[in-house]
């Protein structure tokens, strides 16, 4: 990770124009800051510098100094004399220093790029028409810029394996590989699972897994993302869709409290793949394989698509009315969720306050991998704290609900997503209460619920989550939900209107945010919805310092006690 900590600015000359850039950043990044693209393959901002593709060759010079006195040597006109390095240097390994001169558009530089492009293509199969990478391929893009347009190569091309299974999710086409070693460096440096390497040498070098190993770690698909060509392909996405047909929506991975920024790619309302979106504060450019697979939940067999009452499909309006019938006048219990969006949690909290309902909430926990899969397997546990929904750290059960039912404190239940049986509520107790279930997928609770109100998955709605480091981030709807369904916010608002005297008309996000940001003593006070849409907002979690959050130290995350002490 070559990125320097310092933000000190220095002046360099970029193609003869003086510009300011942070000291010590490399020439590729420095040029990019000022709109000059230095093409590259092997360099990746989040990996160590390998310098092997040679595509980022630029001309570099530094102000000359007298060897004896150390004084700057000046030209006749008084400007510093520049000592140009006789050979082109690689931009990725050239860190800027004050007064450095860079040429990224000279004849020599263009000639270098053309040379490298030609070399990269001589043994390339040129199978773009059947290649998954087509449309998002650096080789294609730079071939357009620096390619010859015809080939001088009349020899036979090298033949390499076309479909090597590197692991359960990654397939390799070795002929397309340009040996940039990004995947190898990623496996070593980020995934900490050193399984990839090159065998053979020269142009016959071949990427492969070490004997007896496979690329099976939960980050393996990142190698596909960072592969600048079509060599590493996602076995799941392979040959499924042309990338230029895809609509990309900004989303947040709901897998855990890490809150990876993602891009959900869909076509005509169907999600085709999920890829990470760069966020240097949270997930860099990575995400888990398991997080990518979550889109499959949208069309899962057990997805709840229609509202129903006692097993019969009914219109949503009727279902909401039935839910009201069940809840009204009873001692209501609400099983809220750490998987709900902050907005949903806020509305749920208001509903609970105004109906004097008792609230129960549970957490879902697993192993923390120390990278981007945190121990808290819900995306928004901190949202439950911030919205006021919960004032204690949720446990991984609902024993207190079980007790409350036994004690007769709860007669009817609004359950958001949770499986009560699995959460420690006894079958016996479940039979004592009437249940309204709101959720996306069937479980043992939905099967006994009197009314089912279908919910929307993360991909079908907009909202926001608060991640493990108290970063508040919003996500956009990627695809429409099943026909005839309403957002969870709207359903909760409607129930609210029915159950209380106070009308809560709002169910649009900006309206909810108006209410949230005007609530006093809330961390959300004063936050503008439009601000949230621009980027992440760091909230101060000091108020919950006493809670023992389960997350370990991980990529870009330090537990609270570590950050405050």
């Amino acid at each position: 990770m070559i990125a320097p900590e310092k933000n000190e600015l220095v002046v360099i000359s970029l193609n003869g124009v003086e510009v300011e850039v942070p000291n010590g950043i490399n020439a590729v990044e420095a040029a990019a800051l000022h709109g000059k693209e230095v093409p590259h393959y092997c360099y990746h901002p989040k990996l160590s510098v390998a310098g092997n593709c040679r595509m980022c060759l630029v001309e570099m010079g530094t102000p000359m100094r007298d060897r004896g006195t150390g004084d700057p040597i000046l030209e006749e006109d008084g400007t510093p004399k520049i000592g140009w390095v006789p050979k082109p240097v690689i931009g990725c390994a050239t860190n800027v220093s004050p007064g450095m001169h860079l040429r990224t558009e000279s004849d020599l530089v263009n000639e270098c790029r053309e040379g490298i492009m030609e070399f990269l293509l001589v043994n390339h199969p040129l199978d773009c028409p059947i290649c998954d990478q087509a449309g998002e391929c650096r080789l294609q893009e730079f071939a357009t810029d620096y390619g010859r347009g015809y080939s001088r190569y009349i020899e036979r091309k090298n033949v390499k394996p076309k479909r090597t299974r590197l692991g359960p999710r990654v397939t390799l086409d070795d002929e397309r590989c340009i040996l940039c070693s990004r995947c190898i460096r990623f496996s070593q440096e980020v995934a900490k699972d050193d399984v990839l390497g090159f065998v053979d040498r020269g142009s016959f070098s071949t990427l492969t897994c070490f004997p007896g190993k496979e690329l099976a770690n939960n980050y393996s698909l990142n190698t596909v993302d960072i592969c600048p060509v079509g060599a590493l392909t996602s076995t799941d996405f392979r040959f499924k869709m042309r990338v230029w047909f895809l609509k990309e929506s900004k989303s947040i991975c709901p897998e855990s409290s890490a809150g990876c920024n993602t891009l959900v790619s869909s076509r005509e309302g169907v999600i085709q793949r999920i890829t990470p979106r760069r966020n240097d504060l949270i997930n860099d450019t990575w995400m888990t394989d398991s997080g990518r697979a979550l889109y499959k939940l949208v069309q899962a067999e057990d997805r709840i698509r229609r509202p129903s009452a006692n097993g019969n499909d009914i219109p949503l309006d009727d279902a909401i009315s039935r839910a009201f019938e069940i809840l009204k006048g009873k001692k209501i219990g609400v099983v809220a969720s750490c998987r709900s969006t902050l907005e949903e949690q806020f509305l749920t909290h208001r509903l609970i306050e105004l109906t004097d309902a008792k609230v129960f909430i549970r957490g879902h926990f697993g192993e923390d991998d120390g990278i981007l899969l945190s121990a808290d397997r819900t995306p928004n546990l901190r949202g439950a704290l911030v919205s006021g929904l919960s004032n204690y750290y949720p446990q991984d059960h609902l024993n207190d609900l079980n007790q409350s039912i036994s004690d007769g404190e709860v007669e009817s239940l609004l359950v958001i997503g949770e499986d009560l049986l699995e959460s420690g509520v006894s079958q016996d107790n479940l039979s004592k209460v009437s249940v309204v279930f709101m959720g996306t997928h069937q479980n043992s609770t939905s099967s006994i619920a009197e009314v089912i109100l279908p919910g929307l998955t993360v991909f079908e709605k907009s909202g926001s989550f608060i991640n493990r480091s108290f970063f508040l981030q919003s996500f956009d709807q990627a695809i429409p939900g099943p026909v005839g369904l309403l957002s969870d916010c709207e359903i909760i608002s409607r129930l609210h209107n029915l159950l209380t005297d106070e009308a809560a008309e709002f169910f649009k996000l900006n309206e909810i945010w108006k209410a949230m940001s005007s609530s006093k003593n809330s961390l959300l006070a004063g936050i503008e919805f439009s601000e949230l849409k621009k980027g992440v907002i760091q909230l101060d979690g000091a108020k919950w310092e006493h809670l023992s959050f389960i997350e370990k130290e991980a990529l870009h995350h330090k537990p609270l006690e570590l950050t405050t002490s």
């Binding site: 310098g51 040679r54 082109p88 040379g115 001088r152 040498r201 142009s203 016959f204």
Partner: protein, 452 residues
């Protein structure tokens, strides 16, 4: 051309071919071995370094960089351990000098290394020996054991508080392992992919990211002699800026190929070929000479070389007039490299020679960086095709263009090593390459030597 045969001056190979001399420590001690080590230990380490700097001895591995200067670059402030590595991965086609030293006089190398280690403050030294030198590795290992038992190496050398272990590491069987940083990677147990410089200059970030000095076998042996006679005295051997002797390895179509040690500049290329090596085979004429191992640029027999030397003197040489030192072949547009002189007479098909050189570089390219990886194989395929009846007139220019796209754009000097032969062969013998096209329908003579 002088008529008297210049006399060899053997310093490094003084005892190498003496029938009464073996590679055991007894012989070495009998001939005054390890006396320089004792002398060095009576000095301060920096004084030893100073002597080497004064001697002006230049690296014998190929680049000819002053060894004393290289030692000066060593990062001593980091507090990290310092390593000394002997580069014994001799594999440049045409070069076979280090092998003679290690097989016939290994203690000389050990003594040179221990003096050097003492000078730079290394506590651990390695001899990275070419994989194919199986016997050499065994000889060195035995010699190290002998030296350790005699207290010249290992713990508390010569009873002092200074210790330095010496280990023989067998190479990984690739030419690229001889590249300084590739060697270091290989020594670390990885693929010998050369490192990018900056930031990985061995003197600062070498073996295990610690300051490291990598020197050639012959260079390290010279250190022993520098200490013996003093840097000042050593610098009187040879010529200014070309001090000491050099072992020249002559191969090709001469009557007496072999290794010959001369003072730098003591003879010309012509004297070497026609006097020392007994001239060409009867009836043959000289066509071309590669003066410094296969990666050096080829020189054409009928070329004139003109220009001015560093001292300002003008020169106008024929091929035979080129003085054999560091600067002579350099002035002629090539280099003395590792001292491998390859002689080609008029029976050599220059395109086939080129094909063989290209085959070597395509086979040995590590494959790390694009220009060398793809370019070397491409050039090999072109020349191979040209020799197999498929030559085209445009191939000569294509070869030049490909070579140009490699040169100066790679991670290590292998790029130049692969590009320079092609550039020089094609430029200087363009007619031969063009002629191939007109013979394109011809099959290769079945009696001619097989291509690599």
């Amino acid at each position: 051309m002088s008529t008297t045969t210049p006399k060899e001056r053997r310093i490094i190979l003084k005892h190498a071919d003496d029938p009464n001399y073996s590679n055991r420590i007894g012989c070495y001690l009998r001939e005054g071995g390890y006396e320089s080590l004792k002398k060095a230990f009576s000095m301060k380490p920096e004084e030893v370094g100073e002597e080497v700097l004064k001697s002006g001895v230049r690296g014998r591995g190929g680049a000819g960089f002053p060894a004393g200067m290289k030692w000066k670059f060593l990062d001593r402030k980091s507090g990290k351990p310092i390593y000394l590595i002997c580069n014994a991965d001799e594999s440049e086609p045409g070069t076979f000098k280090d092998r003679q030293i290690m097989y016939k006089d290994p203690h000389q190398l050990i003594e040179g290394m221990m003096i050097s280690a003492f000078a730079i403050g290394a506590k651990q030294a390695f001899i990275y020996i070419r994989a194919e030198f199986h016997e050499g590795a065994r000889i060195l290992e035995r010699a190290i054991l002998e030296a350790k038992q005699a207290g010249f190496c290992g713990n508390q050398i010569l009873g002092s508080t200074y210790s330095c272990d010496l280990v023989v590491h067998r190479g990984a069987g690739a030419y690229i392992c001889g590249e300084e940083t590739g060697l270091i990677e290989s020594l670390e147990g990885k693929r010998p992919n050369p490192r990018i410089k900056p930031p990985y200059f061995p003197a600062v970030l070498g073996l295990y990211q610690c300051p490291t000095i990598v020197n050639n076998v012959e260079t390290l042996c010279n250190v022993r002699h520098i200490i013996e006679i003093g840097g000042e005295e050593f610098s009187n051997i040879g010529k200014p800026n070309n001090t000491g002797t050099r072992i020249w390895c002559v191969s090709g179509q001469v009557m007496k190929p072999g290794y010959y040690e001369f003072e730098c500049g003591a003879l010309t290329l012509g004297e070497m070929i026609f006097n020392v090596c007994g001239g060409l085979k009867p009836g043959r004429s000289l066509k071309a000479v590669i003066p410094g191992g296969s990666s050096a640029k080829v020189l054409r027999a009928d070329e004139r070389f003109t220009g001015s030397l560093k001292d300002g003197s003008e020169f106008d040489w024929g091929l035979e007039d080129i003085p054999l030192d560091f600067d002579g072949p350099m002035a002629a547009g090539s280099m003395s490299g590792s001292g491998g002189i390859i002689v080609m007479d008029d029976t050599v098909d220059i395109v086939e020679a080129m094909a063989n050189v290209n085959a070597f570089y395509a086979h040995e390219s590590c494959g790390q960086c694009t220009p060398c990886r793809e370019g070397s194989l491409w050039m090999r395929k072109i020349t191979q095709r040209m020799c197999s009846g498929g030559a085209r007139e445009e191939d000569a220019d294509l070869l030049l263009s490909v070579a140009k796209q490699i040169e100066g754009r790679t991670i290590c000097a292998f790029g130049e090593a692969a590009a320079w032969p092609t550039q020089s062969f094609v430029t200087k013998f363009k007619d031969d390459f063009i002629k191939k096209a007109s013979e394109s329908s011809k099959e290769r003579d079945s009696k001619s030597l097989q291509l690599i």
